[in-house]
């Protein structure tokens, strides 16, 4: 709670430690007796010599390389010590030397990408013999990008996986899309942490991963095709992300410390008008308005600045507030400290860790911190019985002000303030009120100077979001027979959330009336329990290899919540804010809710391969969900996949080709994530009331939404096929896959006409009626390419290159019968033949450069009686009826990209390592709502971007912006392609430069790596906003970010910060 102290602590603690380390490092090395050491290196199995092996002496800078005969010779500083042998493609080896005795060693080839073990549902497989499409990312790679939530670092690492963070706000939700967008509804994949599916339907839990410390992660597997995901049938329609946490490996207890400290800054800033520009721009817009409507400048109906403003302008104009700077934090700190202890003995292994992550925002007041701890262990009870457990607890807290839309339209709100308003003046006429809009009477005129002083309000409001989460479970394994194992997993996911928001009292002087303080508090708790029992068979009969899984799984969830707010508080101290003064009433009476859900599943999978050559997998899962009416409750999800490793055939000999496998799959997956709880049950709300006799309040219960008993599982049917290849002992790999996924009956909350009368609780003009339906067919198809190459460049630089590219085409094939399209709201639309949720509005055709052109324009019915003028935007008459109306709206862009990619370069040279990670997205548009708000014409009110200065006037007919007129009588600011921009980008996401300190020194038993890293350092994009990498959630509750709806609107959230960090990793 005591932020200042910890803030100071986080600023000096790490650098101090590092400074101390470096001081040791550069102490002059002592001189020792020199010894000539020679030897030879051969490969295990082939006994062939290995060239280019780096041979170093531990604790020194001495190193050399083997020649073509595998021989080496070096001069060691001591008579005896340890040699380290490293070579790409081989396991690292340490060997002692003593005197001049030759050291001959044998290196073991290391597992390459194709030989690695990949985690699939309910088991593991060797990649080379797997038939499924699985992408795996190591925890090591994930940790390179500093992020609160591990999935945020997934982007660009694996083909077919698109990751977009909502914003640069600390702990912001992350949208993960696997192989496109299958539905307009929930399109987030299923997350499974150590076997426990988390964050399922109807559980208002936060993003399940935001509570997981990235340092605890061993690897993340993404199950992309139906065959891989089918054992997760339920909820797997959007793919599955499996997360494995770390286990103890080392024989001796190992303590690992991993920490970094970084600073974050805005990648870009907006340029706003200064006071005189503001005044002149406003005056021009008033003059043009008065001219258009024939008002004499002195008439009461004319628009003009108030006499007060005009009189005081000479003074006021000298005040120039940089509102952007007011809300900006420079060098906002981010830090992570992680400590773990792990070990392994005959009977058990363990991994215990704790971490503290803190991130301040680049915008004022949005501090996030998380404490987390984990205990993972395995116990071999007998030779046949094993027990294991994994538990993690995390406690997150965000302290923030009042950021509209939860995470900060604070920047655009601040920029919108007139530049001569002041932030801190408490009694002056201009900024005398913290809220701006009421007490500020002199401005509340036709000029529309009615603004909330959002930065001040943001400081005033104290909102805290606290989230305590416990996630874990235990597994018991019993070997019934050799190769046959019974496995029982019980786990739980529990979280308790308490969010509070406190607004202090405000006075008459401040906002024009006295208003009491109020404190709002919301508490929720969620519990999800899972029990799964599986029988696993792993058996080889000669060259026949069988791997089979069969089992049952049950998951139950329960959630409760309550909210209330109080006013007239007894004291405003944080701890007592719930207590109103005697006699003071509740501002909002308590409201509570509760819910339950359950899943029941039967699953089975058989994998068979003959001689590791012909590979087959079949799986089946049957799921029941409480989300549907009893008659529609069950879904069955089969899948098949097959592969053929041609390189295992004796007749298949291609020089250099070391591995070649073709594979393919077909399968069905389900999704039961209904858009609202119990859509099949007619639920009655009791919120409305009515006062009989003018005073007695009586409840007036009413129906709550459309009841749909006919909802069924959303089903996705997918095929994919491709090949995996390896060349030169798999140093070079190249994989390609084609996929097609048809999602039908997708579950969607469709907007329905207000004539239904079922728009309960909608406050946006009474609309917002919607209904949960199965809605049609969406097709995603595309290609994935992935390639890796490892080589040693001249000079002994080991280089590993990895790249991946995914192409995607998303198309809505059909909606419900008789429905071709529907409006998704806010300038978006979903229609047959188009990608989901594309931009829908008016297309522009430049400006009407002169009066003659404007006079010839089609009649614009959307602006009522007003007439199009010279300098107005030209809107295209799409249907050619010579009238501009709602029927002329059309496709303006899309929110699902054509392709996305990532590219990594990792290189090692001696003790240095450098890595670069690029990612990018192509063929995507964003709606720049910030520019629409701050860059549209018509002045005298909020401040504008300097880009407005280039607008149409008779003298500047070729301007890029339309004419400047108050009130926008021609609707130039309407939603059109004028505000939709290409938002493809190519970004240097991460750059790291590391140095490995030698082991053995300064009490460091093992290697210690120190590094500097930069994130989001460089971006190439045509997008004019601060950052093209964001997604918008229609749901500001931030609980989940799973919807594709309205995902491309730039509301001016916090952009991805540019970050520099300095880190250290060591073990003891």
């Amino acid at each position: 709670m005591n932020e200042p102290t910890t803030a100071v602590a986080r600023r000096w603690l790490l650098p101090l430690h590092l400074l101390a380390l470096f001081a040791f490092l550069f102490l002059p090395a002592q001189l020792h007796a020199q010894t000539r050491v020679t030897g030879r290196v051969i490969a295990q199995g082939t006994n062939q010599p290995i060239a280019d092996v780096v041979v170093g002496v531990t604790g020194t800078q001495v190193a050399t390389r083997t020649n073509n005969e595998g021989r080496f010779a070096l001069t060691a500083p001591a008579a005896s010590g340890t040699l380290v042998f490293t070579r790409l493609g081989f396991n690292r080896l340490q060997a002692p030397y003593s005197g001049t005795t030759p050291v001959d060693v044998t290196l073991v080839a290391s597992a390459t990408k194709l030989e690695e073990v990949v985690v699939v549902g309910y088991g593991e497989k060797i990649r080379a013999t797997a038939t499924e499409s699985v992408a795996q990312v190591s925890g090591e790679d994930l940790r390179r990008v500093p992020a609160a939530s591990p999935e945020a670092a997934l982007g660009g690492r694996a083909p077919g996986v698109q990751v977009t963070t909502e914003s640069g706000a600390p702990g912001a939700p992350v949208a993960v899309r696997i192989r496109g967008v299958g539905t307009v509804g929930n399109t987030q994949p299923l997350f499974v942490i150590d076997g426990l599916p988390v964050g399922r339907a109807n559980s208002p839990a936060e993003s399940p991963l935001s509570t997981i410390n990235p340092d605890d992660i061993e690897s993340i597997s993404v199950l992309k095709d139906a065959s891989a995901a089918a054992v997760y049938g339920v909820q797997a329609a959007n793919g599955v992300v499996l997360i494995q946490t770390r286990r103890g490996h080392a024989k001796t207890p190992t303590v690992e410390y991993n920490g970094y400290y970084g600073v974050q800054n805005f990648p870009k800033t907006y340029q706003m008008l200064n006071p005189q520009q503001w005044y002149d721009f406003g005056q021009e817009s008033f003059t043009n308005y008065n001219t258009q409507f024939g008002y004499a400048p002195t008439s009461n109906d004319a628009r003009k600045y108030t006499p007060w403003l005009v009189t005081n302008w000479p003074t006021i104009s000298q005040q120039n507030t940089d509102w952007g700077d007011v809300v900006t934090e420079h060098n906002a700190p981010i830090s992570n400290n992680f400590l773990s202890v792990s070990g392994n003995s005959d009977r058990s292994d363990y991994f215990i860790s704790g971490g503290i992550f803190k991130q301040a925002p680049i915008i004022t007041k949005f501090d996030f911190r998380r404490y987390s701890g984990r205990v993972n262990s395995n116990i071999r009870v007998t030779d046949r019985v094993r027990l294991s457990e994994t538990f993690t607890v995390s406690d997150g807290q965000t302290i923030r002000g009042q950021n509209n839309g939860y995470n900060g339209q604070l920047l655009p709100n601040a920029l919108n303030l007139p530049p001569f308003f002041q932030y801190q003046d408490v009694n002056g006429l201009v900024s005398g009120n913290r809220y701006g809009y009421t007490g500020n009477a002199q401005f509340a005129n036709n000029a529309g100077l009615t603004f909330g002083n959002e930065p001040a309000l943001n400081q005033l409001v104290d909102a805290r979001d606290r989230d305590l989460r416990l996630l874990g479970g235990g597994t018991a394994e019993l070997d019934i027979l050799p190769g046959l194992t019974l496995r029982s997993l019980g786990s739980l996911d529990m979280n308790v959330v308490r969010n509070t928001s406190f607004v202090p009292p405000v006075s008459q002087a401040e906002i024009g009336l006295d208003r009491a303080d109020n404190d709002e508090e919301t508490r929720t708790d969620n519990l999800s329990l899972l029990w799964s029992n599986t029988l696993n068979l792993n058996k080889s009969f000669g060259r026949h290899n069988v791997n089979a899984v069969a089992g049952t799984e049950i998951q139950k969830g329960r959630y409760t919540g309550s909210t209330f707010s109080t006013t007239g508080l007894i004291t405003t101290a944080d701890a007592y804010r719930q207590i109103p003064t005697a006699g003071s009433s509740l501002f909002n009476p308590p409201n509570s809710w509760a819910g339950e859900n359950a899943f029941l599943s039967y699953l089975g999978r058989v994998s068979y391969n003959f001689a590791d050559k012909y590979l087959l997998t079949a799986s089946l899962r049957r799921d029941g969900s409480s989300n549907f009416a009893p008659e529609n409750r069950w879904g069955t999800f089969p899948a098949f996949s097959a592969g053929w490793r041609l390189t295992q055939e004796p007749w298949f000999k291609v020089p250099g080709l070391s591995e070649f496998k073709i594979r393919g799959s077909w399968g069905r997956l389900g999704n039961s994530d209904v858009p609202r709880a119990f859509p099949h049950i007619n639920q009655i709300v009791t919120t409305p009331d009515y006062g009989l006799n003018g005073s007695t309040v009586v409840k007036a219960p009413a129906p709550n939404g459309l009841v749909n008993r006919n909802l069924v599982w959303e089903t996705s049917e997918s095929i994919d096929f491709g090949f995996e290849s390896g060349f030169f002992d798999n140093r070079l790999t190249f994989n390609a896959n084609y996929f097609k996924r048809d999602t039908k009956d997708f579950l969607l909350n469709v907007p329905i006409p207000a004539t239904s009368g079922l728009s309960f609780g909608a406050s946006d003009g009474g609309f917002g009626a919607s209904a949960a339906v199965n809605s049609g067919l969406v097709r995603n198809k595309g290609m994935e390419f992935e390639s890796g190459y490892e080589f040693t460049a001249p000079g002994g630089v080991d280089i590993r290159l990895n790249g991946n590219l995914t192409t995607l085409k998303n198309e809505l094939v059909s909606l419900r019968e008789g429905i071709e399209e529907y409006s998704s709201g806010g300038g978006y639309r979903t229609a047959v033949g188009q990608p989901i949720d594309y931009f829908y509005g008016y297309k522009t055709c430049g400006l009407y450069r002169d009066a003659a052109a404007a006079a010839a324009a089609p009649v614009d019915k959307t602006i009522g009686s007003n007439k199009t003028q010279a300098g107005d935007l030209c809107f295209v008459d799409i249907n050619g009826d010579n009238v501009i109306d709602a029927k002329d709206r059309t496709y303006l862009g899309k929110t699902i990209p054509d392709f996305y990619y990532g590219f990594q370069v990792n290189s090692n040279w001696k003790r240095f390592d450098v890595s670069l990670f690029f990612n990018g997205v192509g063929g995507i548009q964003k709606y720049n709502a910030v520019r629409q708000r701050l860059g549209s014409m018509g002045g005298g009110g909020g401040n504008k971007l300097t880009s407005v200065l280039n607008h149409w006037t008779p003298e500047n007919p070729d301007a890029s912006n339309p004419r400047n007129v108050a009130g926008d009588p021609s609707g130039n600011g309407r939603f059109s392609d004028f505000w939709v921009e290409d938002a493809n980008y190519f970004r240097l996401k991460n750059l790291q430069l590391g140095y490995n300190l030698p082991a053995g020194k300064f009490g460091l038993k093992n290697a210690t790596r120190v590094y500097v890293a930069g994130t989001n350092l460089w971006t190439a994009t045509p997008y004019s906003g601060l950052d093209p990498e964001f997604t918008t959630s229609v749901d500001f509750s931030r609980s989940r970010n799973d919807q594709q709806q309205q995902s491309g609107t730039d509301n001016g959230f916090i952009p991805q910060p540019r970050m520099w960090q300095f880190g250290l990793r060591t073990t003891f």
Binding site: A677, A700, A702
Partner: protein, 542 residues
């Protein structure tokens, strides 16, 4: 958990009873676990059973009326319905509603449209559920059915007079397809309204005792008469006047209502549900003091009329600010000069309709006088807002019931029906003079500067001329700024050929008259509704 698992595992390992665990897990996984019910909410399995349930459920369509009047910036009713008329004008010129720059994208109309259908769905819910309520005695059902039908008719009447041939839903939609209803046929919605109101007037009780606020037999019959007067004029079918006379006369003959002695009582919070009131919105504090939303969204159950119309500041030359401007008065609308002129100098009703220069404004403390420079036109609305009370809490909320059907309205409608249906000038004059007599004897303070005595209207003349000169005048001054009735009066008279809106009406801003065209006899259907429902056609001209 570890302990248990360990024990089980050990036992299994020693006994070899592997199947035990499997069997156990399968029995635990009985499919009953999937039978979940929503918690903490009523469902139709637990509600719509008893008369108590229906007593509550029938209030839902009434409660929806509160949504129309909650918005402090006037969305919905005030902006959509009141501003277009010639009683008031917006404080800012070129306001789209005020100067007839109406477009389908305008959400003020959408707000009314959406809430009307919400009210209808809630009435239909009662009608759908009544036959299923087997535990409820059949004898009790007609009253609930009648009450639901009254409210359904009330909402459809609002829709029909504003949008014309609107979609008709008589049950709650059970699928998305069922929500996509097209425009109704001409007259169809009026037939439904009349038949619902006939059922209601036959089956509703004459009163509810202490449960004031529910529509009774006379409310239904009065509304039926009103609908028939409208219908006679909208469709130029004078035969409907006879039906209207029958129904309105029945209300008069019942003796259940009379004019209050003081005209001002009709807008006084302490005189709600009085002897003149047939129907009013029951505004209350609600069970919630959060004033920033409707009761539907968990907010209050009152209205924001007073903060909306209380003066704030006028920025024209010499303009000044009212006390607590912007805090407790937004001054969104002013009284038009033409309404000021409409009042005879001797008419006390002017005082209760508007604030004028020198009248006591803030009776607390130092007795602030109303200053005409607070308002663009010199006058702001006073109904429901006199006396102005700066200390009411919360400041932006009012519990003063908005009156929907007053006995004076019944008398004037009956007069109009007799005048135009039977050419009965004398009969009409007698009724109008009843209303004028009450106005005449209503007391006013001297500061109001009412001079002379309000005279009776003559009992002779040609019906059309008499209508124009006396009846139209009387309706305007008696009902000024109440609900949406003024613009609806103008529309029906225009349709009946009794006036020409474009030339006979002075709206306030000159653009209003310039821009007005017959298209604006109906409101535009919200564009979002057209977008969502291919069967729905926009009203002509938009």
């Amino acid at each position: 958990m570890k302990f248990i698992a360990k024990n089980i595992a050990k036992k299994l390992a020693t006994t070899g009873g592997v199947p035990l665990l499997l069997v156990l897990s399968l029995t635990m996984c009985s499919e009953d676990v999937l039978d979940k019910q929503p918690l903490g909410t009523l469902t139709d399995e637990t509600f719509y059973k008893t008369d108590k349930d229906f007593d509550a459920a029938t209030l839902a369509p009434y409660s929806t009326m509160l949504n129309l009047t909650y918005e402090q910036f006037g969305s919905g009713l005030w902006n959509g319905f009141l501003k277009p008329d010639d009683d008031v004008q917006h404080r800012d010129p070129n306001d789209a509603m005020d100067v007839f720059n109406w477009t389908p994208g305008n959400n003020n109309f959408g707000w009314v449209w959406a809430n009307a259908y919400k009210g209808i769905a809630r009435a239909n819910t009662v009608l759908d559920q009544l036959p299923k309520a087997t535990a409820l005695a059949d004898a009790k059902k007609p009253r609930y059915e009648a009450e639901a039908k009254f409210m359904r008719a009330w909402w459809y009447f609002l829709l029909a007079t504003n949008w014309g041939e609107v979609p008709i839903l008589t049950t709650v939609p059970g699928s998305v397809e069922e929500t996509m209803v097209g425009n109704s046929k001409p007259g169809e919605v009026w037939d439904l309204i009349e038949s619902d109101l006939k059922f209601a007037s036959t089956n509703l009780p004459a009163n509810y005792g202490s449960e004031k606020g529910r529509a009774n037999k006379w409310t239904a019959q009065a509304l039926l008469g009103k609908v028939q007067v409208y219908r006679a004029q909208w469709f130029k079918t004078p035969a409907k006047y006879a039906d209207a006379i029958t129904n309105l006369q029945a209300v008069v003959n019942s003796g259940a209502y009379k004019l209050t002695a003081n005209y001002g009582d009709n807008f006084d919070e302490k005189k709600e549900n009085n002897e003149e009131s047939l129907f009013e919105v029951q505004d209350t504090e609600g069970d919630n003091i959060n004033s920033w939303g409707t009761t539907d969204t968990g907010g209050r159950a009152g209205h924001a009329w007073t903060i909306y119309v209380s003066p704030s500041c006028y920025y024209g030359s010499g303009g000044t600010c009212a006390p607590k401007s912007w805090g407790e008065g937004y001054g969104q609308i002013d009284i038009t000069p033409s309404l000021v002129k409409e009042f005879e100098p001797s008419d006390p009703r002017r005082y209760y309709t508007m604030y004028s220069q020198g009248e006591v404004y803030d009776p607390t403390g130092s007795t602030v006088k109303f200053d005409s420079t607070w308002s663009r036109t010199g006058h702001t609305p006073a109904k429901y807002n006199r006396p102005w009370d700066p200390n009411r809490f919360p400041n932006n909320w009012s519990q003063n019931n908005l009156r929907l059907i007053r006995y004076a309205d019944v008398l004037l409608l009956l007069a109009e029906a007799k005048l135009l249906g039977n050419n009965d000038v004398a009969g009409a004059a007698a009724l109008v003079n009843q209303v004028r007599a009450r106005a005449r004897t209503t007391p006013v303070p001297a500061e109001a500067k009412i001079t002379g005595t309000l005279a009776d209207v003559p009992a002779t003349g040609s019906p059309a001329a008499w209508h124009k000169q006396y009846l139209q005048h009387e309706r305007r001054v008696e009902l000024a700024t109440e609900w949406d009735y003024r613009y609806e009066d103008l529309v029906r008279w225009h349709r009946a050929g009794l006036i020409n809106i474009k030339t006979d009406v002075q709206f306030g801003y000159p653009e209003s008259n310039t821009n007005w065209k017959e298209t604006y006899l109906l409101k535009p259907i919200p564009q979002s509704e057209i977008d969502l429902n291919a069967n729905l056609k926009q009203n002509p001209g938009y």
